[in-house]
Symmetry: C2
Subunit: 338 residues, 2 copies
Amino acid sequence: MNTKHTGKQTITFANPPSIAGHACVVGPKEGEGPLRNSFDYISEDSFFGEKSWEKAESHMAKQAFSMAADKAHIPPSDIQYAFGGDLLNQCVATSFAMRDSDVPFFGLYGACSTMAESLALASMTIDGGFADTVAAVTSSHFCSAERQFRFPLEYGGQRPPTAQWTVTGSGAVILTAEGNGPYVTHVTPGKIVDAGIADANNMGAAMAPAAYDTLRTHFEDLHLSPSDYDLVVTGDLGLIGSEILTDFFRRDGVELAPFHNDCGLLIFSRDKQDVHAGASGCGCAASVLAGYLLNGMREGRWRRILFAATGALMSTTTSQQGESIPGVCCAVAISDTK
Amino acid sequence: MNTKHTGKQTITFANPPSIAGHACVVGPKEGEGPLRNSFDYISEDSFFGEKSWEKAESHMAKQAFSMAADKAHIPPSDIQYAFGGDLLNQCVATSFAMRDSDVPFFGLYGACSTMAESLALASMTIDGGFADTVAAVTSSHFCSAERQFRFPLEYGGQRPPTAQWTVTGSGAVILTAEGNGPYVTHVTPGKIVDAGIADANNMGAAMAPAAYDTLRTHFEDLHLSPSDYDLVVTGDLGLIGSEILTDFFRRDGVELAPFHNDCGLLIFSRDKQDVHAGASGCGCAASVLAGYLLNGMREGRWRRILFAATGALMSTTTSQQGESIPGVCCAVAISDTK
């Protein structure tokens, strides 16, 4: 037993699962950004034809799941299990998206790290011999998140420069036991790390210590350095969190910056789109992965990436009760070879 | 690959994980109920010495995790991964309980089914060869749940006869690759089933169709009938959901009732404790399992049980938007032999 457990907390797959299909669906603002050509569907309407933003978010997740299955040439009825979650209270966007799918479902909550957590558990389900075909799907919606976590949109609340803009988007990935890749080769599930940041408008700073902890452990467990990857991509630290993360590594004498990017910095143009410190949300890392990153791997742009999604595990209640913001980061290594 | 996938959606473990330790911590009302002798700790104070009910819930989960590790004679630092969740928005009770543990964490959301979901994934992590020692922990608190899902306690809202009482409690289970049992032999993760029930005061009716779907599939996948188990225990259908479930099976010509009980009916005395249709909450199934059920197995009262926790995947927002209530049920078979 336990032969796949490597070092302190990394898992090395014996038969790395293959990514058979991936799709992303986004809203109009994301469709105006620099990654516009990587999305499978861009809605011109934030409501996606639904009557509420919450229903719109479910609509996106359902569509991303269905398109990913289509692109994998796998009927949804052949998908044996699905993993997923979102930011809404009681994770209703994903539950309502999956309720008609007839696919046994594991609901997850890892805040904005949920796509990495979903990929990790979906890969473990396949490599463990429990299934051949598993889906991962997550979403977020700017308007449903603002309503729930901050202020009614109509109030027009001011956003400080450290704030990040929740992505309206969903990404889905279909994993299979056999296939031509890219392959999920390793995962490093993360510990909860709380450095004492209590500013709910500075999530990047709250999550950076968790990203540092997971990435450092991943490199140590596998005796690797950042340069062993073509791209180490966090999501979503934004500008401030990314600077803190690269600073932490610099103190260890490790240069992360040349190999690092962040989903929260990739999806919007900070110059032209007024998003302050960048983007965030379960749908940010998910739609950047299921579009730009996996497309880039298929096109040969990168051969080996480390996808390290980060989440802030707070709620409005914990912040109102004066608590600091715990962060978590799950890292998933994806390679064009087993 | 995929040799452990049995029938439609059941997983049969090759090396069934052993339950090495289990503990439960509850509040004063639970301590006055019929299972009082099965709890490891009963607080006389709903606040557990904390300043808010949410912090009290985290306190319970932390205490249950720590006691379960103690009872397993395993230092928390040897626990390789933890799975868990709760009912609070953004699952903060568990995240805050685990933030100082230094154990890599997978956050889950399966509403009141979360203990079964946690056990399923923890068992898959061990049987898949990814770890030797994994924890599962979930919680709920009557006061934090009422504040979040219903009315401020001070308002004194009336409860209809179909309503269930959220348990103040937490349960934790430690699973290991080697041990003397009881063993987790099979899991049947559930599909999301929505029969159109929209009454948020009748969760039992909303979840019963999901329990029926998962249990029927479990029996079919493994060619079993209810009588192959000493006890088929759902959680938490309460009185009304339990009657619906046994009715569904009766229509198929299957007598479930003689072998069935429900965590929501076991934990309180409906005659003396004014809980209407029974109990509910992630902490209900968890504390009944980690106390009464697993103690009973160790004492030889039951040799083989099927623990089928159920969850209602709604939020106050979906109910306010007129949505019906999707249910989910995850079944975990526990046996004194591999």
